[in-house]
Symmetry: C2
Subunit: 290 residues, 2 copies
């Protein structure tokens, strides 16, 4: 019997999941359904081949047995809302999984609403992939190839959960399990801090060089400027939920970086600057080539 996958939120991540599933050929013989609050997004995903069909109304998502696997691909607060609303209409033969950027609040909600007797299973996931702009138009069947896809325990033992993890591996993703609290702390360092830094730098430059002055900045700036401000394009809509659901770890990394910048500033003319460069060189030397 073929598996019906319903993607709730067919933006960049959701539509890329649809494309990746459908590119699996005979390893995926199911049907991909989609719904998005923006009709244009689901229409784009449908036109690109990410979906077999679009559910026209939000009520259709709650229709009994409309799908076997529900993939919540949205910012964290809407994911939490969908988890609350879907739990009462789903049963133990169904699986909900997600692509949310923070995992502690989602795993807390899952412990309350899913994975118990008579309840649907919930598999918390986080594909570490994306682009600085969103939307179904940028979706890519190869988005997850070579990317890390994290799952946070408890991993339900249901056949659908096993099936989903197998498909994710078929996407070419590197699957890892990580505790939800550790996930949120680690992501604060490797994802949320770089984002906040890039936003702060781009906002600071925008305010420091108002009007036409910014053209001179951008003429003089090269790759260093482009790369360190690239994430400044990221939309607030997604990052609001990350900041709200991972506030303390993000604040801790920001404070540590502020102190490190101050240390570097106070040592621009001392041998300590050499130590900072050497320590940074060591970090980079251990980084795998992309």
């Amino acid at each position: 019997m073929s598996t019906r996958v319903l993607i709730v939120g067919t933006g960049l991540i959701g539509a890329s999941i649809g494309l990746a599933l459908r590119s699996l050929g005979e390893r995926f013989d199911g049907e991909v359904l989609g719904w998005d609050p923006h009709v244009q997004e689901s229409a784009t995903a449908l036109a690109s081949g990410a979906l077999h069909r679009v559910l026209p109304n939000i009520e259709d998502v709650f229709e009994r047995d409309v799908a076997d696997i529900y993939v919540l691909a949205a910012p964290v607060l809407p994911i939490l809302d969908w988890m609350e609303r879907l739990a009462p209409v789903l049963g133990p033969h169904q699986l909900v999984t997600d692509a949310g950027s923070t995992k502690r609040t989602i795993c807390d909600a899952a412990a309350r609403l899913y994975n118990g007797a008579g309840k649907a299973s919930f598999l918390a996931g986080h594909p570490m992939a994306g682009k600085e702009a969103g939307g179904a138009a940028l979706a890519d069947a190869e988005l997850f190839h070579g990317a890390t896809w994290l799952f946070t325990p408890p991993i339900p033992a249901s056949p659908l959960a096993l099936q989903w993890q197998a498909w994710v591996e078929d996407f070419g993703a590197n699957v890892r399990e990580i505790d939800a609290t550790r996930h949120d702390e680690l992501c604060a360092w490797v994802s949320h801090l770089p984002q906040m830094l890039s936003t702060a730098l781009a906002a600071l430059l925008e305010d420091t060089f108002p009007g036409d002055a910014v053209a001179e900045v951008q003429a003089v700036g090269g790759r260093a400027l482009r790369e360190t401000t690239r994430l400044g394009s990221s939309p607030y809509s997604m990052w609001r939920d990350i900041a709200l659901t991972n506030t303390e770890p993000i604040a801790a990394t920001l404070l540590a970086l502020e102190q490190r910048l101050q240390h570097l500033r106070e040592n621009l003319r001392t041998p300590e600057l050499r130590e900072e460069f050497r320590t940074a060189n060591r970090f980079r030397a251990q980084q795998p080539r992309p």
Copy 2:
């Protein structure tokens, strides 16, 4: 009569200049000589075709009329040293130009040592191009294509200075004139601050995740981590001189960024975070596509 160009420092920038000159075909009918304190660097530059020949000894650089144009492609402090040592042995029919990363100290030295009656001309320049690693082995005839190449007044009126600027345009660079003090302030924002930021972040991560823990960081981290720490590979040897000759502007930008990060940290749960993202989005929206 063909022009002899002597490149002093045949690393990434120097060797790329040699390759770019020699790729000009009949627009450059001169000879490219080179010298580097590291014999391996000049040998690599020679083997790659960046140079017609290598000067074997440092004394050869000071030999009377060994070249018409001297290109100083080194960190700032060695450039200042070469300026001092070359001035007494050069005459008004010769030109010295440079590729130094900061311009105020170099222009101060030029005003004292060059561009006067009976003296050689000095044209202060700065190609805004590079890679996070140096060396002649990475040299590229196309390195300056599409990059900005800044010259800081006074621009000498000598025929060789005009010739040099014409060749730089032939490299495909966008030539701009900019006052030396303005140059150093602007470069503090678009180049030195991104560098210090990337170094501080990479060093902080190295110290926070010692030993094997860094492998988990790098498995979880994606493009955001790679891009914001990429410049952490940069060598101290070059940046020491930038920090020493542009201390106050760099310190001012670091302090401004520290304060901006603090502001963002204190507003992770307020609507002010939205304003920061929107301001950053505006900066990025004005940035030309690479």
